[in-house]
């Protein structure tokens, strides 16, 4: 090769693609995140299911729910769907209460209960939804949604770490390094996300979805604006030494994913809780993601907390309109 040759040789397109893949070993994570967004957009959401009018639903959640919870029996809704929700909701609330006791622990049984209450959160937050029979009505679907949320919203924020894992590895095992990192990251985030969902659901069941979204929104804004959040965010992009070969290479990548996930949970939990409280509405998730993405750029630092407040206000505003 003579001179500076950035021009591709004969099979130009293949060579170009190989170059791009070399420069951006994280390319398939970007694709995965895009696919997760599409899935979140097209997979039927509880809110999309046929159900009673919004006014009714809002009424039942805002007014009847607390009494339902304390009385321990279903809301006496006039619509059939609402009734069904109530009866499932009953068991879930119990689970939700246990979740509260078990905050911090991740026992399998509690987790399942927490998931149940998450389904409820989906409904309460879901702006008048009655999704007991929806595809998120069961545990697997709730877990699936948590996975999609993390892949769509959180993985893109740690692309720098994914790149670090790949570029700090021998070229033959770059993609294995990425797999190890992502496995560790998800191993930490998914249970955390399920806990967050559970907690948001419990809060929603006590206070009504509007109030809980407002409270979580303000808490998120306060957390975003706090100096601790800034320090935490810096730690999200910490690097770690990775062994080059053998099982230690796998272990180091996995551990790096776990450690990154931990910092990521600590800095992003509040906004993820806001997504849950807002019923996983796609615009809210999009706004939260955009906010987090902008927060990586030093130039946007000053705007970050303002935007957080705006999200909170918009969620509350949407709630008011519904009510």
């Amino acid at each position: 090769m003579s001179g500076a040759t950035m021009q591709a040789p004969a099979p130009a397109r293949t060579a170009e693609l190989r170059r791009l893949a070399w420069m951006h070993p994280e390319w398939w994570i970007v694709l995965a995140a895009a696919a997760a967004w599409i899935a979140l957009a097209v997979i039927p959401h509880p809110a999309a299911h046929g159900h009673a009018p919004h006014v009714h639903a809002a009424h039942s959640f805002d007014d009847a729910e607390p009494s339902h919870f304390h009385a321990g029996h279903p809301v006496d809704g006039s619509a059939v769907t609402s009734d069904a929700v109530g009866s499932t909701g009953d068991a879930r609330m119990t689970g939700g209460a246990r979740m509260t006791d078990g905050v911090g622990s991740t026992g399998g049984a509690r987790m399942t209960d927490g998931v149940g209450s998450t389904g409820r959160a989906g409904m309460t937050g879901g702006v008048g939804s009655t999704g007991g029979a929806g595809m998120f009505g069961d545990v697997g679907a709730v877990i699936l949604r948590a996975v999609l949320m993390i892949v769509a919203m959180m993985l893109p924020l740690v692309l720098a770490n994914v790149r670090h894992a790949a570029l700090s590895s021998l070229s033959a095992r770059r993609h294995r390094a990425i797999v190890g990192f992502v496995a560790g990251f998800l191993a930490l985030w998914i249970p955390a996300q399920l806990l967050i969902e559970g907690a948001a659901a419990v809060l929603g069941s006590y206070a009504g979805w509007l109030a809980s979204a407002g409270v979580i929104g303000l808490a998120a804004a306060a957390w975003e604006a706090s100096p601790t959040r800034g320090t935490r965010l810096r730690r999200c992009h910490a690097t770690a030494p990775l062994a080059p070969r053998g099982w230690r290479a796998h272990a180091d990548c996995f551990r790096y994913g776990v450690v990154t996930g931990r910092h990521c949970v600590v800095s992003c939990w509040a906004l993820m809780a806001l997504c849950s409280a807002a019923g996983h509405a796609l615009p809210v998730m999009g706004a939260v993601f955009a906010l987090q993405w902008a927060g990586r750029d030093a130039r946007w630092n000053a705007l970050r907390w303002t935007a957080a407040v705006l999200v909170a206000v918009s969620v509350a505003g949407a709630g008011l309109l519904r009510a």
Binding site: M23, L167, A243, P244, G246
Partner: protein
């Protein structure tokens, strides 16, 4: 236009040249001001670093930017703020209107005393018997006694060599890495910047050795004036350009509070001759005859990005240690395998295949809270039984541990992953190949401590390198 002059040139004219005399008077005046005064000495030092605590309302403290490509622009704005404050104090005291901070060119080969502190900074007392405001007892006592900084600490050759400003993806750079995605000190920030900090301070508790106290030492500002000058020197060399990225150019730095506050972007301080800066250096010529390294002006393989900026093609990692390396009071070494053949796809990126590949040594995640030495010199494949002094040709470079303690604090402002250095070892690798001593099975890296504390207080400390890796491009 204000002119910043070399402190040893001034000192040769008179040890108490008016610039230094007025500096001393102003320091005295500034020290008398309260910590809450944005034009006070303590406030000025606290802008650089300060532990959390009872801060005055509105104080812009603990702002210093290290280990990233904001290191140079931030310190330029900082120095401008400092100079404005001191100039005002000098005027108030009846001095000249055009006081400027001198620079300390410790690398000047024509100045025999360049590596010593100038006399005005070493004497505890003024000729009249009063305490000398420019003196600080919180230095390595050998520096105050007039000893020289090590030659390696002031070697600007490796600092000025990198063609690109941005460091990353395994390649060295002059100015530092793009945060938050990449970590790493630019070549200038490592040596001479960090090395002079640690050389003046000593490895223990000297003011210059820590972010929170460095600005308290009056010589700090002369040191940073020289670092700022070296940026101008580097820019003046062929093929050297600042980053074009908006993320760098539009970054804003706000220092001080109240009416005297300064808020400037990188873009606004790139031309030092224009307002609001309006200064020049008495010399920005590259140091004569001090370049053992060849200045390579060939363009790097780059790809344009949509934003108009350019991304350098990542280098390939071909080998790394699988264990941490302790950095103590005695030399330590690590040995690991290097892949002889790189990825095939990578060959299409090579600038030219007539020559040998460029080789970079990355010293990753250096952490520690107690240091045995201020820095370490790295050697490649030092033959068994021979000392580092026997093989100067195998010297791969020097790393300075200035900032390691701050960057190791998990809850701190500086990330917690320690410091990462990237050294260009192409020449040494070429030499080893020529000597038949570049075996793919193993590369041995030896860390030799420099800038150790006085003999009676030798400690081993807890500093360690997370990993040593080799990149090829």
């Amino acid at each position: 236009m204000y002119e910043r002059r070399d402190v040893w040139t001034l000192s040769d004219e008179h040890p108490w040249h008016p610039t230094l005399e007025w500096y001393a008077r102003a320091v005295d005046e500034l020290r008398a001001r309260p910590a809450s005064d944005p034009a006070g000495w303590e406030y000025l030092a606290a802008i650089h670093g300060r532990k959390p605590g009872a801060w005055p309302p509105g104080a812009t403290w603990n702002q210093c930017r290290h280990g990233s490509w904001f290191f140079l622009p931030w310190h330029r704005v900082y120095l401008h703020y400092f100079e404005t404050v001191v100039r005002q104090a000098v005027r108030q005291l009846g001095g000249p209107d055009d006081w400027t901070v001198p620079y300390w060119d410790y690398s000047d080969a024509r100045q025999p005393n360049a590596r010593r502190l100038p006399p005005a900074f070493r004497e505890p007392h003024l000729p009249g018997g009063k305490p000398n405001p420019l003196f600080a007892a919180q230095r390595d006592p050998r520096m105050n006694a007039g000893e020289e900084l090590g030659r390696g600490a002031v070697d600007v050759g490796p600092a000025l060599k990198p063609r690109n400003f941005e460091l990353g993806a395994g390649r060295p750079g002059f100015g530092g890495a793009r945060p938050p995605a990449e970590h790493g000190e630019g070549s200038l920030e490592n040596v001479p910047h960090g090395a002079v900090h640690m050389g003046v301070a000593g490895p223990r508790d000297g003011w210059m050795g820590r972010f929170a106290t460095a600005g308290l030492d009056p010589v700090f500002w002369l040191h940073h004036a020289n670092i700022d000058r070296l940026w101008e020197v580097w820019r003046g060399m062929e093929g050297h350009d600042d980053p074009a990225d908006a993320a760098w150019r539009d970054a804003r730095f706000t220092l001080g509070h109240g009416p005297g506050a300064v808020s400037l972007t990188t873009r606004e301080v790139l031309d030092v001759s224009r307002p609001p800066l309006g200064y020049r250096y008495s010399s920005v010529a590259p140091p004569e005859g001090r370049f053992a390294v060849r200045l390579d002006t060939k363009p790097l393989p780059r790809r344009r990005t949509r934003g108009g900026g350019e991304r350098v093609v990542p280098a390939e990692m071909v080998g790394a240690s699988d264990a941490a390396v302790p950095l103590g009071a005695a030399p330590s070494e690590v040995q690991f395998a290097v892949e002889s053949r790189g990825a095939r796809v990578f060959k299409s990126f090579r600038v030219d295949d007539a020559g040998e590949p460029e080789v970079f040594l990355k010293v990753e995640n250096v952490r520690g809270l107690e240091l045995a030495a201020g820095g370490y010199v790295l050697y490649l494949n030092l033959p068994a039984g021979s000392g580092p002094d026997d093989h100067p040709e195998r010297r791969a470079g020097e790393i300075s541990l200035f900032g390691v303690r701050e960057a190791s604090a998990a809850g701190g402002e500086h990330g917690g992953s320690g410091l990462t250095f990237t050294l260009d070892v192409t020449e040494v690798a070429r030499l080893l190949r020529g000597a038949g001593d570049w075996s793919p099975d193993r590369l041995r890296v030896t860390f030799v401590p420099v800038q150790r504390g006085p003999r009676d207080e030798v400690v081993d400390g807890d500093a360690r390198v997370g990993r040593v890796s080799v990149f090829q491009a």
